[in-house]
Amino acid sequence: MAGQSDPHISLFSAAEIEFVAEDELVEIVPNISMEPLNFTCGDFGPFRPQMPTEVPMWLAVALKKRGKCVICPPQWMSVDKLTQVLEAERDTEYAFEPLPFHYVELSRLLFDHAHEDIPDLYMVRTLIEDIRDVRFHKLESSLKLINERVNAVKLKNVSAMEMNIVRPFLVRTLQSFYKLDSPQMIHNPVTTAYRQAQAADRGPRLELRRRHMIDLLRR
């Protein structure tokens, strides 16, 4: 009966999330000549030496592995931009800065396969690690705010990988609260004295329960 407990059905593996991220476009500068590629996922090229062109990440990585191009790191991966983001992340308690939905996977792919194309590699890597840590810490601590039945949780600007990591825990938590805190469970005519005592205990919480939707990130 546990519809969501089977990991094969409803969860995305990290590899599958990366697969999705690999479709994001990135700019490359080829060092070879090649005719346009008419793929099922779109047309790319033509490729001429020193002429920048946009391709999906997986294609960029494939060309890079064969030494056929230089990958231009996206704008958000510059030291300046990342420093700004990190500062902003540190300044707010619950809000998240807008970063690409797949920033974790994209930066990881670039570090693994194109590290020589990234200026200030060491700084960029450290900054992204710091940003990830700060954001994840925020996400974790914001989960503590869930302490009652809610209908929805807003997760503005949370990225794919961050979302995937908290998914199993968050879904189970929300399900449990939803089930145990349901009005039927609380307001049903109770027969035993024990239950009545419990219902009475719950009295003060009714006031809190008016808010059914929770915005973790904007309080």
């Binding site: 690999e22 099922t40 047309d43 056929k68 929805a152 399900q175 939803y178």
Partner: protein, 222 residues
């Protein structure tokens, strides 16, 4: 680069261009795959999309074969092969995810309108799956139980409902992301709570609140 390949490329270009509209079928299939993986129940089979995808994969396989025959540069061939592999992975994973759900909820699906969400081959699979399961359980366990406890659907003959049929849990929570429709969703029973996809972007919502929007493709599960 071999000059003979360029003619072939141009011919193929026309064919493929026709099938590429604003969003490609790969993109649509990816969304269908994500929705299918993330939703607790089985969704409607994307018959047209799967049909088109199969045709495109076939076409691409032929193209790659042609290239191999006419001495196209091996790099180009391997790149086309990668594109093809990614498409095939999506299609297989989509179909497999559905089969897993069918195996899990066979009886429930075959007894409700969900049956119509299955493709013909899937219905055949579900039927065989149900028969095998019934046969197996009857032979190994149920036939050895006392009279009245032998049903595959009920715990005992005295229970009113079919209380042993696994059903998808619709009361669960799913992650969803805004798409071009930017819907505003009522999430609470009272109707005063709204989730505005244009503003909020990403969130966790009860599946029942967005079930219809998922079916019509106005909200994407992730």
């Amino acid at each position: 680069m071999a000059s003979g390949s360029e003619e072939g490329t141009e011919l193929e270009t026309e064919d493929i261009d026709k099938s590429i509209r604003l969003t490609t079928d790969v993109e649509l299939l990816k969304q269908a795959w994500r929705n299918e993986k993330a939703s607790p129940e089985i969704l409607k089979f994307q018959a047209d999309l799967v049909q088109r995808s199969k045709e495109q994969i076939q076409l691409m396989e032929d193209t790659v074969e042609d290239y191999e025959g006419n001495g196209t540069d091996p790099l180009t061939i391997s790149l086309y092969q990668m594109d093809l592999d990614r498409y095939q992975f999506l299609l297989r994973s989509y179909l497999r995810t559905r089969l897993q759900k069918i195996e899990k909820y066979t009886i429930h699906i075959s007894k409700t309108e969900m049956w119509n969400r299955l493709s013909r081959p899937e219905q055949k699979f579900a039927k065989r799956c149900k028969d095998s399961m019934e046969k197996h359980l009857t032979q190994s366990v149920l036939s050895k139980l006392p009279e009245g406890y032998r049903s595959i659907l009920q715990q005992s003959a005295s229970s009113d409902a079919e209380d042993m049929v696994p059903e998808p849990q619709l009361d669960t929570f799913v992650f969803c992301k805004s798409n071009q429709y930017r819907e505003v969703v009522q999430v609470g029973e009272s109707g005063d709570e709204q989730f505005d996809f244009a503003v909020d972007g990403l969130g966790v919502i009860r599946y029942t609140a967005i079930r219809e929007l998922v079916e019509t493709g106005k909200v994407d599960l992730v």
